[in-house]
Amino acid sequence: MVMEIVCPAGTPAAFRAAVKAGAHTIYCGFADETNARNFPGLNFDRVEMRDSVAFAHQHGAKVLVAINTFPRAGDEAIWHRAVADAESCGADAVILADAGLLDYAARDHPNLRRHLSVQAAAANADMVNFYAETFGVKRVVLPRVLSVPEIAAINAETEVETEVFVFGGLCVMAEGRCSLSSYATGRSPNMNGVCSPASHVEYHDHNGVLDAQLGGYTIHRAQKGDAAPYPTLCKGCFTAGEKTDHLFEDPVSLNAEQLIPQLQKAGVTALKIEGRQRSRSYVTQVVRNFREAVDALEDGRPLPQGMLARLSEGQAMTTGAYKKTWR
């Protein structure tokens, strides 16, 4: 069976672009703190969601609604409503991270298919099976800390579908278990759906040398003519001991395009593209590229060579944890 391409959409326009470019599945979120890309100018109100789901279904594509932040104590109703509205908008599944929310969805919306978000960081087969048995989760998005053989090992021990990231921004920390951002800015992926938020970013140009600050901390300095990454904390430049460098991760993005055949052999069902905050131009290019790759694989043709470097952060790519030496 052809591997499923799961594509991001931050706006209805990007959503339509993804469908037209050949995405099998689109994931998106409501325009509030219930999803992990709660960025200014992004996401879908209820009407846009219903219309977009209808558009996707007309074109034979599926829609997953990400409700993958951790509900705030006292305000769980906002997240519950998001799950209920995703169902009434016709979503094919919801992507959830919080155990309490999964419990709610399993009890109150049993017919709505549930996927486990990468934010839940289910990193071994025990956990994957536990979520399936406890909350009826049908698919797990695996955290980006695993190598290809480890993914294969998980698939050998579970019936649950697995989805892995193949392109885009890369978390180096176990997702959903990082509060670097709120330590520096007060806003975090888990609670607010933002990491290293733009509201706390400042750029300062000193004669062509571009300093990037997050929450007042200077974490990147690009010399004249060098690429300028967004100041995401874990990809910042820091000093420890004698060394000043990107101590956690280089400002690179993931591209596992050439690993698709191995991921298929490892039993992976779906390939996920990161980037709900990116433009429809990005979406079109990346989706088309990956759709071609999986179609080629299905037909036994060689994979097309990638053309996606320019879309990447710092214009540099990595295969991340999929190769064990990354660790």
Binding site: T11, A228, Y230, Y282, L311, A316
Partner: protein
């Protein structure tokens, strides 16, 4: 790791030079009228700006001898052109081609930023909101312009497409983005 670069075309001096002489007040007034027309046909654009629907933006085409001050005005935008540096909550600077490519969805904003073809200063959040709102609006400035000109549509269209071919600028919404 791999690296590539794609160059963004610069606005030819032939187009830039005459702008030094044009009366900016007149041009500002027509651009304001033009932007209000867009506001009427794309109300979602201002809704998407959310908290920033009243934030002044400075848009600086670095290869032109002028700066654009955009006041979204909660859906009643005003555009002011000036030759002097002006203040705004957020400033987006880059070659005209990059800015037009952004508007028309030909270029990806993050990619332009990573390559430093685009420079953002001030309220980064506001700039992101504007970028995302514009990307969703699927604008086509030439089409809007043609709608505006009525009987003159055909000759204007010919001029625009000639310009687009000659300069490499995105003056219309492309069927296919650049990357």
């Amino acid at each position: 790791m791999s690296q590539t670069t794609v160059s963004v075309p610069r606005c030819p001096p032939l187009l830039a030079v005459p702008l030094r002489a044009v009366p900016l007040a007149l041009l500002s007034a027509s651009l304001t009228a033009f932007s209000r027309r867009i506001a009427t046909s794309h109300p979602g654009l201002f809704r998407r700006l959310g908290d920033y629907a009243n934030t002044p933006f400075v848009i600086d085409p670095t290869d032109l001898p002028l700066v654009i001050l955009l006041h979204p005005g909660n859906g009643k935008p005003t555009i002011t052109l000036t030759r002097r540096p002006v203040g705004g909550a957020a400033r987006i600077a880059g070659p005209l081609a990059a800015l037009l490519g952004l508007v028309h969805g030909g270029f990806d904003g993050d990619a332009l930023f990573f390559s430093r073809d685009l420079v953002i200063e001030g309220d980064t959040s506001a700039s992101l909101a504007l970028r995302n709102a514009i990307d969703d609006a699927e604008l086509d400035l030439s089409e809007e312009l043609l709608n505006l000109t009525g009987p003159l549509a055909a000759p204007v269209h010919r001029v625009l497409s000639l310009l687009e071919r000659r300069t490499g600028l995105y003056l219309t919404r492309p069927e296919e983005p650049a990357w």
